[in-house]
């Protein structure tokens, strides 16, 4: 079997570990079924294997390390959706996939099927270091300075079953990017890492700590500007040790690292980390160039060859087909190779469920990845799919193939590209439904020409304060709340997860569900009516302030 493009190639040690882990879980399931284990005893064990109990059934969350899959893995996910679920899967805001209708007794068999393609559901739940996320354009984007995947894989290997960090005060999320344009929401993670080349060409890492969303949204603060590669693991180890020792375990709502950093201040936190580093055996954690090279060698490099006229072919096709041109404008990104382009495939059809894909669509995406992008697929934290290395002269053929399965929506980064958590339709934690309001908004702004006219505008929706829909980071954010049994939505504006990260500002009192879509339409109208040439929604909001938008939202209330 050839080495996959884009992600690490497992070896026998990795595979033996997965089989041992599945056998262990199979025994735990059996003991739960025969009553040897109580539900209280079993719950943390199943969560360590990604299995939640939601409103209607068990939900299995499968890890997609740094969001990258190969086609056989994606095909397997499609098979699991068809065979064990209700023929669809849901891509999440942490680059994973969840299946909503799983049977407990099927779970060991599913995990064995996943292991056949080097996948698992570890680190998708529990108070551990969760699946590490990375830039969806890693290794492909023209603006990238350092390919973050090798270091993401090193972090995966370091964090998986880390004996000190399996029972942290609370879950812990790390994101890494190697681009100056933050596409991983680095400032909203427990640790956000931005890699860049150092003076000697070796990568150095800027590290933020204490970011997060949830009930206490906080923008992460810079802890270190330039951590050398050899000290990356030691530094992360020290950050985690300080958190593990001093993070609050008495109150689940105050247990994340952001609360600790806010409580003692980032300078004190840095001092604590430096003190930890002084007494650590740094040799043990030194990341040697040979080790990095060994990991890098387990990633295949795509052979990027394109005809000399690939660019001209694409340009002509765009001139000939306005619909295709519109899709290219919104759904592609500049590749580092001039003959190639990055294609983002929207999982946000107008009126559809954000992030959902049927098994047929999933399998078709695998086929298209084989045909057009070296069999490699990336899942984005915005619930879309990326094919990273598409030849420009073949892009239109890809687009036509996507259209055959309803995946050619031209709305990436536009108002139809809505991020939404599963909400109260599935989630045991939710207070309100996220998906129906997303569907209504998607239908309201279904016209892709209108979306293009509105321009960059991101709507994020969460069904509860845990903020899995990242509502704080939406240009327009919606938070579902329950008021005496009725669904209401609190509106925020001005959030952003990209460079210049900001937490959205609450506009006013929560609106009844049936008034929310109209209120957002008035917000958009306010922007369209008052924007100046070239302004995005955020630009106009910044220039005018919140008041005109607040007045528009509450105009009829």
């Amino acid at each position: 079997m050839s080495i996959p493009v884009g992600h690490y190639q497992y070896d026998r040690i990795d595979r033996d570990f997965l089989q041992a882990r599945i056998a262990e879980f199979e025994g735990q399931v059996q003991r739960r079924l025969d009553g040897t284990l109580s539900e209280d005893e079993f719950k943390p064990l199943r969560l360590m294997n990604g299995l939640y109990l939601q409103l209607h059934a068990y939900m299995l969350r499968v890890a997609i390390p740094y969001g990258i899959l190969d086609s056989r893995q994606l095909r397997k996910l499609g098979e699991i959706a068809r065979r064990y679920d209700r023929d669809y899967g849901h891509f999440t805001t942490r680059q994973n996939i969840q299946f909503n209708w799983i049977r407990l007794e099927d779970t060991p068999a599913i995990l064995r099927e996943l292991a056949e393609v080097d996948m698992h559901a570890i680190q998708t739940s529990g108070n551990c270091i969760r699946n590490v996320t990375a830039d969806e354009y890693a290794g492909a984007a023209a603006d990238e300075l350092v390919d973050p995947r090798v270091h993401a894989e090193i972090l995966r290997q370091w964090s998986t079953l880390h004996p000190e960090f399996t029972f942290l005060p609370r879950k812990f999320k790390i994101a890494i990017s190697g681009s100056p344009n933050d596409r991983v929401a680095a400032r909203f993670h427990d640790i956000g890492i931005l890699a860049r080349p150092g003076e000697d060409g070796a990568p150095v890492f800027r590290i933020f700590v204490g970011g997060g969303l949830g009930r206490t949204p906080v923008i992460g603060e810079e802890l270190f500007d330039s951590v050398r590669e050899e000290h990356l693991l030691a530094t992360l180890e020290a950050i985690l040790r300080v958190y593990n020792a001093h993070g609050r375990r008495d109150n689940i709502y105050k247990a994340r690292i952001k609360i600790l950093v806010q409580a003692i201040g980032v300078d004190a936190y840095r001092e604590a980390v430096e003190a930890e580093l002084v007494q650590m055996d740094l040799e043990r954690y030194r990341l040697m160039p040979e080790a990095v090279a060994a990991i890098r060698s387990r990633f295949a490099v795509p052979l990027l060859e394109a005809p000399a006229d690939a660019d001209a072919v694409l340009a002509q096709q765009r001139r000939d087909d306005p619909l295709f041109d519109r899709w290219v404008r919104s759904n592609t990104h500049v590749h580092r190779d001039p003959g190639h382009i990055i294609a983002t495939i929207s999982l946000k059809p107008a009126g559809g469920i954000p992030g959902d894909a049927t098994s047929a669509q999933i399998v078709r995406l695998a086929d298209l990845a084989d045909a057009y992008s070296f069999g490699e697929i990336r899942i984005t934290h915005l619930q879309n799919v990326v094919l990273g290395h598409v030849r420009k002269d073949r892009l239109r053929d890809l687009w036509l193939g996507l259209a055959e399965v309803g995946l050619a929506e031209a709305n990436i980064g536009l108002i139809g590209d809505i991020v939404a958590c599963p909400g109260l339709d599935y989630c045991a934690l939710a207070n309100a439904r996220s998906i129906p309001i997303a569907q209504k908004l998607g239908a309201r702004f279904a016209d892709t020409a209108l979306q293009a006219e509105i321009g960059a505008l991101r709507i994020n929706i969460s069904g509860c304060i845990n903020a899995c829909g990242h509502h704080h980071a939406g240009h327009i954010g919606l938070l579902g709340v329950d008021k005496r049994g009725e669904e209401f939505f609190q509106l925020t504006v001005g959030g952003r997860a990209e460079n210049g990260a900001a937490i959205g500002t609450i506009l006013g009192a929560a609106l009844p569900e049936d008034e929310t879509v109209d209120a957002i339409a008035r917000l958009v109208d306010c922007y369209l009516g008052r924007r100046e040439s070239g302004e995005t929604f955020l630009d106009t909001l910044t220039r005018l302030g919140h008041e005109p938008f607040r007045e528009a939202a509450y105009e009829t209330v």
Partner: protein, 105 residues
């Protein structure tokens, strides 16, 4: 200690849980079985629910259910849960009408 249940006029309590094997939402019936359909659930007064709940919780492992609790319903035919959450549990996700519990045997 369990909080006292306050029922509005016309409301009763039903007992609900998830099935251990597949996690499906189920409702406790007067014959001691668990059913997918809330229409078959036993309607309980607040003063009798506490004792029944304690007995059913004690038998949860034998009956293959987890997370037993009571919830208020309008005592209609079929009974309708009071909260949005329990309505969704009773009928299935609102975004997939093809998965409505009512369509299942």
């Amino acid at each position: 200690m369990k909080r006292p249940v306050r029922l509005e006029p016309g409301q009763k309590l039903v007992l609900t849980a998830n099935r251990l094997l597949d996690g499906r939402t189920v409702w406790w019936c007067a014959d001691g079985t668990w059913d997918l359909h809330i229409g078959r659930a036993a309607l309980l007064d607040a003063d009798e629910a506490e004792a029944v709940l304690a007995r059913v919780v004690a038998e949860a492992q034998r009956d293959g259910v987890v997370g037993v609790y009571d919830t208020a319903v309008q005592a209609a035919v079929p009974p309708e849960p009071v909260t949005v959450r329990e309505k969704i549990r009773a009928h299935g996700p609102t975004v997939h009408p093809e998965f409505a519990v009512e369509t299942e045997q």
